[in-house]
């Protein structure tokens, strides 16, 4: 893409995110969200493929509707209370509408239908931006308004997200759609704890962004868009296949990898809040997503397919693995022993 245009879009994304997370007036928050939406649209439709255009259109329609609802909820709150402060959202109707709007922005069930299609229509790097950077402002808004949100609605949406993210990801063969459903499932974990301990939701988001970035960048460097391509990656970059397996298991939340940390803390917090059944339910539902992570790990690393290639290793690799993948993968695998330090930071 034209470097100047790329610069404008990336700067707009950063600006929009910064405006939203540092705002305390609803209009500023909304402006940042809109800026983000508009800036990522050309990145999604960069290749001009009809499916990419379709993905960009779906993304725009959903996000515009959600932004409108956010503005509407803040307006009704301003009518009732006379102020636009984000942390002072007191009108109950506004809180409900805001929860629904942020669920639409994030892709929480039952507003998740756009997410796999949009991710499937965009490239892997744009998919990474959609899964991590574009989720950050709405999560921040949830964090800032967490004391006024309806816990029942959020817990329901969270459990539904974990369930749907698990069930619908089971039979997917396209890696981008699998990562979309993993994102929906993780958002469920974030949403269930945001009312009781918003800092934990934010910690979950940071660790999820780390692991997802590692996964997406790895898949981008081996250029796999579907499961059958993943089966032959062991010949091209065997080390990357091994680390991909560990990253995927970390996303699944298995100890002793980093992904276990947010799940453990969330279950602990939920139990302290007398919500043991909800904790059990969401933990059991994340077993479904463990199934498809394991399947990806099987295809990438654990099994050797019989038919595909007849050489053990290609004689040279096309491009060396970038250092960013190395750093992100190391962090997404080995951060669990540092959990006391992480708890003090967040």
């Amino acid at each position: 893409m034209n470097p100047q245009a790329n610069l404008v879009f990336i700067t707009s994304l950063l600006l929009g995110t910064t405006i939203t997370i540092s705002s305390n007036h609803w209009i500023m928050a909304w402006a940042g969200l809109e800026l983000n939406t508009l800036a990522i649209l050309p990145l999604i439709s960069k290749s001009h493929h009809p499916r990419a255009i379709e993905a960009a259109t779906k993304y725009f329609l959903v996000q515009a509707a959600a932004s409108t609802l956010i503005l509407f909820s803040s307006m009704t709150n301003a009518w009732q209370t006379g102020q636009w402060d984000i942390s002072q959202l007191t009108c109950p109707v506004s809180c409900l509408i805001l929860t629904a709007a942020i669920a639409m922005k994030l892709g929480l069930a039952p507003f998740h239908f756009w997410f796999p299609e949009v991710l499937q229509g965009s490239s892997l790097i744009t998919g990474l931006l959609l899964s991590t950077a574009m989720k950050f402002p709405p999560i921040t808004l949830l964090y800032m308004t967490s004391q006024s949100l309806n816990p029942t609605l959020l817990v329901t949406m969270a459990i539904l997200s974990a369930a749907l993210g698990g069930w619908m990801g089971l039979n997917q063969t396209q890696t981008r759609k699998i990562l979309a459903f993993s994102s929906i499932s993780h958002l469920g974990w974030m949403a269930i704890i945001v009312v009781y301990s918003p800092k934990l939701a934010l910690l979950n988001f940071y660790l999820y962004a780390l692991m997802t970035a590692a996964a997406f960048l790895t898949l981008n460097s081996i250029n796999t868009l579907k499961l059958s391509t993943l089966m032959t990656t062991w010949t091209k970059t065997p080390a990357l296949s091994a680390t991909l397996m560990l990253t995927l298991l970390s996303l699944a939340g298995l100890p002793p990898l980093t992904g276990f940390l947010p799940k453990w803390l969330i279950i602990q917090e939920l139990t302290k809040q007398e919500m043991a059944p909800a904790a059990t339910l969401i933990a059991l539902l994340s077993l479904l997503s463990l199934f498809f992570y394991l399947r990806l790990a099987y295809c990438a690393t654990i099994t050797l397919p019989p038919h595909t290639t007849n050489h053990m290793k290609q004689w040279h690799t096309n491009k060396p693995t970038s250092i960013l993948i190395a750093i992100l993968t190391t962090m997404s695998i080995t951060l669990l022993p540092a959990s006391p330090m992480i708890l003090t930071i967040v």
Binding site: N2, H49, P50, E117, N171, Q172, T173, K226, S228
Partner: protein, 301 residues
Amino acid sequence: MALAVMLLKGASFHSGCCRHKVLLSLLGPLLGNSKLYSSYRRPGAEPEKTPSWQNVDFSFKKGIDHLKTQLSLLKKETQDYLKGPGGRPVSQHLLEQTRVLWQFRSQEDLNKWVVSSDVEIGGKSKVYIKLGRNNQAALLYGTLNTEVPRDGETKYSGYCSMRSRPAVGSFNRKKYYDWSNFNSLYLRVRGDGRPWMVNIYTDPYFSHQKDDLYSYFMFTRGGPYWEEIQIPFSKFFLSSRGRVQDNQHPVWLDKVRTLGFTIGDKVDGPFQLEIDFIGLLNDRAHREEFAYETYDKNTPV
């Protein structure tokens, strides 16, 4: 505008009054028509259907039967979902290199396809489909007639086509095929030397792209021997409403809806095509990603 027509129709009920008769005669066509667009119907098109709200059948038993069939379809879909992607176990999905999509051995195989020709615009071509000898193939035959229908707006005519029926799941939901494991179409056909066009329709979500079609050609030999034709998906070019697009893109095989064959080679006369089966192949020797516009569109300055 529809509101204005409704108001005028309401006004027509008071037509007893003679003051309004002149007005009514002027507005007659406007009030009489129930549609707001041109009423020209192409000669081959079907006559106006009764609106769907007029032929609703409120039979309770039929409704229950319909619901039962849909629920059994849903149950079958759930069982297929539990097996794996596309109703097959994952190991089969990952290891398969060939797949037979359509085989013509019985009448119900034929019922999965629809034939059409330029009769729908008023032309005179004929096309028929039947099972071939010993029920071993489908025979698509007919006559192409390039005589243009005389309606003042059509310039070309003379085409016949056969298209697969789009797959439909429970409760009439759209089902798509996932051909992403494969990179070529494999056809066993016996033609008569005429060139055919193979079309893939991906049924996009938005109606702006509903005319997008990915096509390529299939040149048949006329001989008595069967031919096995392999068409890689990288060769399919994008066209919209019949016009080849400048912006070319490869067909994405994860959401394909229908496959079709068309003959329109501007030659009057009979044609015949026997199809034994249509399948997919993952040709490992074919490394091409896309055959068109491979140059870099955004060269850095």
